[in-house]
Subunit: 138 residues, 3 copies
Amino acid sequence: MKSYRKELWFNSPTRRSFINITPEVNACLKESGIKEGFVLVNAMHITASVFINDDESGLHSDMEVWLERLAPEKPHSQYRHNTYEDNADAHLKRSVMGREVVVAITNGELDFGPWEQIFYGEFDGKRKKRVLVKIIGE
Amino acid sequence: MKSYRKELWFNSPTRRSFINITPEVNACLKESGIKEGFVLVNAMHITASVFINDDESGLHSDMEVWLERLAPEKPHSQYRHNTYEDNADAHLKRSVMGREVVVAITNGELDFGPWEQIFYGEFDGKRKKRVLVKIIGE
Amino acid sequence: MKSYRKELWFNSPTRRSFINITPEVNACLKESGIKEGFVLVNAMHITASVFINDDESGLHSDMEVWLERLAPEKPHSQYRHNTYEDNADAHLKRSVMGREVVVAITNGELDFGPWEQIFYGEFDGKRKKRVLVKIIGE
């Protein structure tokens, strides 16, 4: 069994954003030389997500509105977590969208359906944060 | 390390449905001959889910009502994604229910608790869609 | 490829609770002797979750309030599942928080960011329930 590890770094200029990281994950897969296995892609921070969905700006706008409705950022005082922080909503939004994805590797490629793209979902940005790419297989 | 791959195809006659795919995943596992490892089961489409829950029709009815409350289908015009499409709600419902499950394989069996069953969750049906089953192990 | 399996048992005195199980998962990893691979940690029951977030009591209180808003326990009669049971809300809360996490293992350690901790999320306690830890790798 072979394994491969890489950290991807992000620094979102805005509090919230969705970044398509499929090209970076693909580059990791090529570098690993692994042909059959699984790739795990996970946020290393607990106010961010990795998820798979559509690369369509209208949908991303809908997601922003929807997540704000499910777990509003403000008023910050509505959350007990926000005594020294202001990011309780980011922890909740990340809970909806998920921490990680596991993707099959087949014949050296990400084994994807027609529209699957991997996103980094930032919910508390304006600072450096990381995603872990770990691949196991042969 | 051995690996196995199979696509399962579905064509739900309704826009939304929950289909128990545990027998199909079990058949894949037997066919693979893998005794120890992980099976990844994921929707290959971004308006569908694979999740583990109870095979109880009352609960499925509750889930339908609940997901419609969290991310209503109509009016279609409430979503910016719905300029050429009408399925923004399906992308959001799938975000709640998840894209994939990873299940342990032990002694050649799905290593499940007493009530765990794998479901395909369709949120934008009436067409052919796929689930990927990928198994790695020995 | 090596594999390792262990069940962790819980009996929450309250209906809902969050329990940090990172030390138990770490102990499994040490016992396994696996240095590179993946660990899957999943609830074996469909009214409980395993998730990764912050070990901060204010946030846990926020999560309890938030999950009760998204999927209220009472009145029990609002759910069709609750004919012989009273735990439909627990199935829904678990759907939001997720069944499982997959964590990378690197150099014999859980490959975590600075604040990642693994939690067992109980939504229908007061009885014995289990979490599965399965590790594969080398």
